[in-house]
């Protein structure tokens, strides 16, 4: 009994292949031998064959009636893929060129602003060996005294008194 159950299980797992003509050789012969003595398996084989017959009938219905070829559209796609981009060369230069121009403008503008507002060097001069020496601080700082007579920013010059050398003899 158990052997029949196992044999049925083995055969039924192969019925779909047998029904489709895909079971060959010793396996086919073994299945056919089992079917001789097993009406249940024969019934299942018959129902599997009926289902496959429906598939084969459906296979005769062509799902693709004559339609225009895919080639014209494909051909156009291929041609377009080969067309070089006309603006590729200028486009390649566009961004770096714009960046270069912008940096130049920024540099010039920065230099201009810098020169306008640059305080310049601060010079401190002291005069030794002189009574009541007073430290004379000369500044060319233009921050407080802008000379804008002609609109140009020029450093204001403060004349320096020459140092006095004392005769020590």
């Amino acid at each position: 009994m158990e052997r029949n159950i196992l044999s049925c299980r083995w055969t039924r797992s192969r019925l779909p292949l047998l029904a489709g003509g895909d079971l060959l050789g010793p396996e086919r012969r073994r299945a056919e031998r089992h079917l001789v003595g097993c009406p249940e398996c024969r019934r299942q084989l018959a129902s599997t064959q009926a289902a496959l017959d429906a598939l084969r009938t459906a296979a005769t219905c062509d799902p693709t009636p004559p339609t225009p070829s895919l080639w014209p559209e494909l051909s156009r796609q291929i041609r377009e893929s080969r067309r070089p981009e006309r603006t590729a060369w200028p486009r390649l230069l566009a961004w770096p060129g714009a960046a270069l121009a912008a940096s130049l403008l920024l540099t010039l503008g920065g230099v201009t602003l810098f020169r306008r507002h640059d305080p310049g060097p601060t010079v401190v001069v002291t005069k030794p060996q002189r009574p009541k020496t007073q430290a004379l601080v000369v500044q060319t700082d233009r921050a407080d005294e802008p000379d804008q007579a002609d609109g140009l920013d020029r450093p204001r010059r403060v004349p320096l008194e020459p140092p006095v050398v004392q005769d020590t003899h």
């Binding site: 779909p16 598939l55 693709t64």
Partner: protein
């Protein structure tokens, strides 16, 4: 359509299309055409397209059950193949590679829309274009109805089983060809085919029982 019962040695055979390629190309093998297409010979690639487009459209239509979508997928398949010609090993067969690309595209498309099932009941309006099937039987209406029933049941099958059933039993590919297309071992294909047919039988009996057949 060839009888799917008989094993096919080479179901991925080129078929002469309505607009035949130039005579010098007709007899040229696929490998030679691929070599020529790689060197920029558009006529060679055209010949490949004309050879395989009908079969490819048929496979894709049966898989995705939508004629317009199948056409888009076929177009995309050829475009991708064209872009990968330089990587194709001409010692292998071109047909299985082409169908592999197409079937994978179709399965990806079906997986993307898995959450949005399309109606496929005969009680609903017939899909556009589906009723225009050609049939060699004396009663074409019966064949058309049967094809619609089969389509309904096919939609119930998981994609890995549906694809094997379509390739083997509807399109007549041999087990070896199916294995080459889906890139599995032939033993795996046979197992999937047995499972697919069993599932189809179960759904078919259920449906036939529901219609009182």
């Amino acid at each position: 359509m060839p009888d799917a019962r008989a094993p096919k040695r080479d179901a991925i055979n080129p078929r002469v299309q309505d607009h035949a390629p130039p005579a010098r190309i007709e007899e040229t093998g696929d490998a030679r055409l691929v070599e020529q297409a790689r060197q920029g010979d558009d006529e060679a690639f055209e010949a490949l397209v004309l050879r395989y487009e009908r079969k490819l459209l048929s496979v894709l239509t049966r898989l995705v059950l939508d004629r317009e979508l199948a056409r888009d997928l076929a177009q995309e398949t050829f475009w991708r193949v064209y872009g990968r010609l330089d990587r194709f090993d001409t010692s292998r067969r071109f047909g299985p590679w082409l169908f592999r690309v197409g079937v994978n595209l179709a399965l990806d498309e079906l997986r993307r829309h898995r959450g949005h099932p399309q109606p496929a009941s005969l009680d609903e309006t017939q899909p556009e274009g589906w009723s225009r099937f050609e049939a060699s039987d004396s009663d074409p209406r019966h064949q058309i109805e049967l094809a619609q029933e089969v389509r309904f049941v096919l939609e119930k099958l998981p994609l890995p089983f549906r694809s094997v059933l379509v390739l083997r039993d509807l399109e007549g590919f041999s087990s070896a060809e199916v294995a080459a297309v889906i890139k599995k071992r032939e033993a795996t294909v046979r197992w999937r085919l047995a499972k697919a047919r069993e599932l189809f039988r179960e759904h078919w009996e259920r449906r036939e029982g529901g219609h009182g057949a």
